[in-house]
């Protein structure tokens, strides 16, 4: 993904309403009307969020002129989820390596000290 695209994805995900819309769409497509009900928002307000999500590539909208149902586009979300788990993995694994490395350094120190005694 281009960095610009990733920026758009993050900006779109920063809003809790948009995350809730995505969570709703994860269980199947929905129209603007269906989306505005649970969020207690007007159609135009929901449409504004949907435009941000669409620009970020997180949703796609049907061609049916009247209903234009929205559906989740999974690829950008997967990219973001992978990064979040990368952060944990980075430190988890680095710290395990550091355990071994410190043990080696400690052993070396002890040998050096033993020689100097």
């Amino acid at each position: 993904m281009e960095p610009d695209q990733l920026s758009l994805t993050f900006a779109a995900l920063a809003d809790p309403t948009r995350r809730a819309i995505l969570a709703r769409l994860a269980s199947g497509e929905a129209t603007v009307k269906e989306l505005s009900e649970p969020f207690d928002m007007s159609g135009p307000a929901v449409s504004k969020h949907l435009r941000v999500l669409e620009r970020a590539g997180l949703i796609a909208r049907g061609r049916d002129a009247q209903w234009r149902p929205c559906r989740l586009e999974a690829a950008p979300l997967k990219e973001v989820a992978e990064w979040a788990s990368d952060f944990r993995q980075f430190w988890d694994e680095s710290h395990k390596r550091l355990d071994f490395y410190l043990a080696q350094l400690n052993a070396k120190e002890r040998r050096k000290n033993a020689r100097h005694k």
């Binding site: 960095p3 920026s7 995900l13 809790p16 430190w91 694994e93 550091l98």
Partner: protein, 160 residues
């Protein structure tokens, strides 16, 4: 062979802007501090298994530059740049950290304490706002998106 699963790395988000990574090591603080700050040591451990730290620069004084690059199998390299702000060996370093666009620039606070020969490392990564922190770590995803992700996994399964 040393015990490796004795200590676990924990990740917490104690405030709106912070991510805190905490870990205990069976080594004196001086050694753990050197391991975290000296390029003599960092390439030997920093980075997940399979990654290679191909570039390491850390000018350990206020205003000194930081530049780390990793290459990983089958992927693009990652470069982190930053500047040291506060250097108090062997207990504390404050520096900036940038993963490049589009990631927000964060402040890194590394703190080490020693009790009975064990050193606790607390690394606080402080973002300029909650939005930046959540965007970087996606902790905000936890509330709304947990169910979504389970379904997303299923959905991704149907695509392949």
């Amino acid at each position: 062979m040393p015990a490796t699963n004795k200590h676990a790395t924990t990740f917490t988000t104690p405030s709106d802007t912070d991510v805190v990574v905490t870990r205990v090591f069976d080594a004196p603080r001086k050694l753990v501090f050197e391991a975290h700050t000296s390029c003599k040591h960092m390439p030997n451990w920093m980075g997940p298994y399979g990654w290679t730290m191909s570039e390491c620069r850390n000018d350990l004084r206020p205003g000194g530059e930081i530049r780390y690059t990793w290459s990983k199998p089958g992927g693009n390299g990652i470069t982190i740049t930053g500047v040291n702000k506060e250097v108090v060996p062997p207990s504390r370093v404050v520096s900036t950290e940038s993963w490049g666009d589009p990631w927000p620039v964060a402040t890194n606070i590394l703190e080490l304490t020693e009790v009975d020969g064990q050193t606790t490392v607390v690394m606080t990564i402080r973002y300029p706002s909650k939005e930046a922190r959540d965007a970087a770590l996606q902790t905000g995803m936890k509330d709304g998106m947990t169910v979504g992700y389970e379904r997303l996994d299923e959905y991704l399964g149907t695509l392949s």
